[in-house]
Symmetry: C3
Subunit: 311 residues, 3 copies
């Protein structure tokens, strides 16, 4: 295998089709290995990952830390990095990053400010992986989403996907949209209340990359036609009027009735955590893939850590 | 050895006499191994324990994590699981548990709500160990208490034990009472201020299991007669009137005078942390076993992790 | 090598010249090993370090934890030890320490009260390393500082060092002053605003040990004459009047102009984090050693852990 060309994982746009295939094939290997002969159980023995979470996200942190441990590596971790950072004593992110270079072999960084991971990567000699930077990106989430889609369909040419819910503030759907442009024949339906519409920058990017998209406000118009329903949570804070929220949220619930209308071959995704936008009764439907999707995060993160550190 | 029959450790009542013997014999092995040839040093290599503490308890967490590490396993940990949970984003404990199933091989859960660990175990494919659930149970504490008693006496038939202090709200003494019914010839004295009396459910359980018990308010009536004095802390919050508290607390201190009145073969236990209910001067008395008791927690937790994970 | 004579690392004064040489030679070995054949990669396999931080200090904690992991050891950790301690439930530091003795092989303790680490070491059967105790000491910082100086100069006889900034409350410069007395021919210039002067106890200690020192308020009088400029941060809280602070702080900045006035062979140190007392432009100057200094903390801590635990 050719050496992995990336030094850091900062944003979805770094990944072209070849690179995606490399990551996904490696994730396949990791998945097989975990229930198989554990050839990778000590692949990163002696290596240290620093989890630098400037805001807590136990789920994402655990996913990365489990990935590192499954490869035989070790972890130093904080959910409290803000104290370590400029916010506490006025230190710059650059200084913090240089210091961490002395203690670890890879940095996984969650930060509240967009662009933080990119700035850290500029001065880091060790790989930086962006685990979410504010309103910016969350590229490993996008990769695990794309991996789940690719895994579910034998070739995704002609795939129709509906992204549902909060498309304006949802980092997840934005990052996934970038990756979808790498595949041919994809069509996207953006389904959201008017206040949560997908932003213009993504639409323009899709246009430039010849990805057809259209907008809907009515979920019922869409569920029967698509191969993938990607649900997201609508946050109450987006609405001025609580009644508007109640009205809106109710329309973007994937009820069992709506699931029944879906194609037999279609899949249901959600970045989790969910609240009530997918009722529990749907969990046993074979089309529900959101727990598998979360599990795929482990394989994707194992793949990235392995590719970045075993060069 | 027959396969360990439990999939999860949720409450004391799961343990019958045979199971207790299995756990205690395995704890003996762990204790011997730690100062011996370390045959178990890599017994759980490659396995991951998730410490999910919805409320912090550094002592209990460290005891479990040390146990896992001593067996060669690895740990992902949070003292901040509430953020990860429904409380933060509205996610259900069920969803959190399913996600954790993808990242770890065993879950150790401390939760503020009684019944949480049981609910998690219902949907978990990996073992769940209850590390304390609110007013509910703390079974590994009960096991280490029972182990300490069994270890101290060559056969516990005829054992007289005094439980002293806050018996009403003390999860520890409640869980231990369940286990004591598994042994024959045990007698219990409940010694407490009137506001902190043992609850009726435990008394009824003891009656059904033919375990004689009686209540006392005067510690001096009891110390000379029993084989084990199990002290607990009386919490100020239980009393409406601070003066009542002062008066009560003073009567349930195991002073050196009271220790002198104890049988030479008797033992003193305490789940720790203590405040002043056992003065420091007592620590050097050979009957003081509370630090050994805490240490036994390590062996018991190693035993449980080993039995649950090496099936 | 003779057995390391210390059981605990509590304060700088424990180290005489021979002991410093032992620690520094071992640190040299650790440094070489990390980029070499990794002979020490499993030196502490099976050993557990407990990071007991009663106040958070992610940087120091990570440095110790990385050191332990680089030696193949494992870590149990809390940034939240105050909850575990007397402050939360009234438990004494002595009890907490005894409990930790059952879970770990070495304790690294950061505490807000001076003397805490010493008190813990009095009852601990396992080594205690002081990682900073309030206004007290931070001996591993002093060791890494001294190591950086010794490493930079081929024999430090005749070394002139300027300590700049907050000398009154800066634990770092106080601890380093103790160690400097172990070397011959050292001269110290204390450069600070009048409100942040070095305390009398240190000056008396230097006098007793024949170490010449003098005080300055003007940094420009000093920079050209010394071999080492040790910068520290001046904290706003020390000043009653914000304007006084602004005036003072401005005078203790190591500007590029001042750096240009320094000897070509001199070095610039800082315990980090810095705010603006060393501008970023200085970082690329070959005399800037503060990032190397932080990195040296890893080697020193690996050396101490190794020396304490492999006896």
């Amino acid at each position: 295998m050719a050496a992995f060309p990336l030094n850091h994982v900062i944003e979805s746009q770094q990944f072209d089709r070849d690179l995606l295939e490399t990551v996904f094939r490696t994730a396949d290997q990791m998945k097989a290995d975990l229930s198989g002969e554990r050839r990778f159980a000590k692949a990163l023995e002696g290596r240290i990952m620093a989890s630098l979470f400037y805001e807590p996200s136990t789920r994402t942190r655990f996913s990365f830390e489990s990935a590192m441990l499954r490869l035989g590596g070790a972890v130093i971790t904080t959910e409290n990095a803000r104290e370590f950072s400029s916010a506490a004593k006025g230190e710059s992110l650059a200084d913090s990053t240089r210091i961490m270079n002395g203690y670890a072999d890879v940095i996984v960084m969650r930060h509240n400010e967009a662009g933080s991971a990119a700035r850290a990567s500029e001065i880091s000699r060790i790989p930086v992986i962006n685990a979410g930077d504010g309103a910016g990106q969350h590229p490993t989430q996008a990769l695990l989403d794309m991996y789940t889609i690719v895994d579910a369909f034998d070739g995704i040419r002609g795939l129709k996907i509906a992204m549902v819910g909060d498309l304006r503030y949802g980092r997840t759907v934005r990052s996934l949209a970038y990756l979808l442009t790498k595949y041919e024949g994809v069509e996207i339906a953006f389904v959201s209340p008017p206040v949560c519409k997908m932003e213009g920058d993504i639409k323009a990017y899709l246009d430039r990359n010849q990805v057809p998209w259209h907008e809907e406000t009515n979920l019922d118009q869409v569920v029967a036609k698509v191969d993938c329903v990607y649900m997201t949570r609508i946050q109450k804070e987006r609405f001025h009027d609580p009644e508007d929220y109640q009205a809106a949220a109710g329309q973007y619930i994937l009820t069992p009735e709506r699931v029944r209308a879906m194609k037999p071959s279609a899949i249901i995704m959600h970045p989790l955590p969910r609240v009530d936008e997918i009722p529990k009764d749907v969990d046993d439907d074979p089309r529900a893939r959101y727990f598998e999707q979360a599990q795929n995060g482990l394989y994707i993160r194992m793949a990235l850590l392995y590719l970045l550190l075993s060069k």
